[in-house]
Amino acid sequence: MVNYTRHPSSFKDPAGFVFEYGGQVYRQVNQYYARQFEHLINSGLYEQLTQRGELIPHQQIDSNLTQSKEWYTTLLPEPVDYISYPYEWCFEQLRDAAQLTLGMVRTAVQHSMILKDATPFNVQFHKGKPVFIDTLSFDLYNPKQPWIAYRQFCQSFLFPLYLEHYLKTDIQKILSSYIDGIPVDFIARLLPLKSRLSLGVWLHVYLQQTANGSQKPGKAAETRFSRKKLMDLVSHLTNIIQHFPAERIYNSTWSNYYEDTILSQEYLREKENIVRQFCAATKSKTVLDLGANDGHFSKLFAGYGMQVVATDADSRCIARLYQEVKKNKITNILPLILDIANPSPAIGFQNRERAAFHERIQTGLVAALALIHHLVIGRNISLPALAEYFNNIAPELIIEFVPKEDEKVQQMLATRPDTFPDYTETAFEKYFSKYFHIAGKQTVTGTPRVLYHMKRKKAI
């Protein structure tokens, strides 16, 4: 009996697969890929990419853990703390992942190799930077062949970026529907007329759409390609992606939340003091910050050496935080877009290829600061339902209760009937006490807001 679990998303590539064994994640290399793997190592490509931090480093283990006949070797890659997916990334994260992928094609070609696939699922944010995780994506390069992953690159990187750039709206929800990227016919119909003035759009979208439609089935195209042509293509793609405006407009409903609050400075300082006391009382090394906004408290948690996943439903907040993380080289904050009322679902074959958000991202501590009034009053999620939700995801919880008397809640209630008679501090404590012990409770001085530190009663 061999005790390993093959990762459900790892079924497409005959070169090998990812599996879990004894609590660690391994990657098996099959004999099928032996020649390519040896070339990757011996050509110096692996060394160059890992030294630059572009490819995840691994330890080679000469043990057939899965006891399979196809086995060639086993790799133990450096573990990535949290797996995130493109539909949780902001524009800038997807752009950086695209740049990384194109850069890898360039470097690979210098070593007579090429990327045989180009999907954002092969890129993960690790220690604050995008890193390529699929060591088996490199194939031997044949200059006569065009880039096999070109269409995949367009669908899963270029088209989403184009859409967000031209439509000026979030497209993450679309990405979670199209696991293989946005089809060319779809984007061609969505892009505005003015996009036709761009050479890039014209070539990679409209020309590709026409070519796809005109190709006769069953007849392989006579192709003559060269290394120079490939490099021209890659340069052009790089150029397009580089030239999307660097500074995007960050004013959205939430992006100036703290700046706009009159009480802000005093309230923040007070709240910070309380959260610091709670942090001192926790042993957790990981935290999920829900409704992180500009990441003020994510940075506080990070200061305690915790691994932070900072989430917000507003992509502009996440973009701003990501740029800060990048600029200041913060290695322990991962900013992700998450709508708590509709988190990323499980998608793909058998709904098992890409796990749902909370299945994938589990932390010892969950922080929900200035959040629950938005869920209860804004999204009509009842307090008992919220208590159950937090019980499912949080062994420990730092949560802020914002009562009806609060100015922000009053604003929210001004435009809707008050159908929330149960929204009180007493009821909040009652429902949450069903699942949690209250380890700490403090009122933020000068406001009616209350902060709680809770611990789950029993493990689930």
Binding site: D117, N142, L207, T223, D232
Partner: protein
């Protein structure tokens, strides 16, 4: 001929379109270079007049 692993479908028209795009880009880059050369040819005398200064724009 190298046998390329085709576990992802490159799309029936994807190879063809790359050939076309590469041809267009090749031509564009060619003319761009030519343009730079022409520019360099005409602007060089001016640069030489200002002795000692590096000609950056070429």
């Amino acid at each position: 001929m190298e046998c390329i692993l085709l576990y992802i479908d490159p799309g029936s028209g994807s190879y063809l379109v790359q050939v076309i795009i590469a041809a267009i880009l090749g031509a564009l880059f060619y003319f761009k270079n030519l343009w730079w050369k022409i520019k360099a040819f005409f602007f060089r005398p001016k640069k030489e007049e200002s002795e000692g200064e590096d000609s950056v724009n070429g």
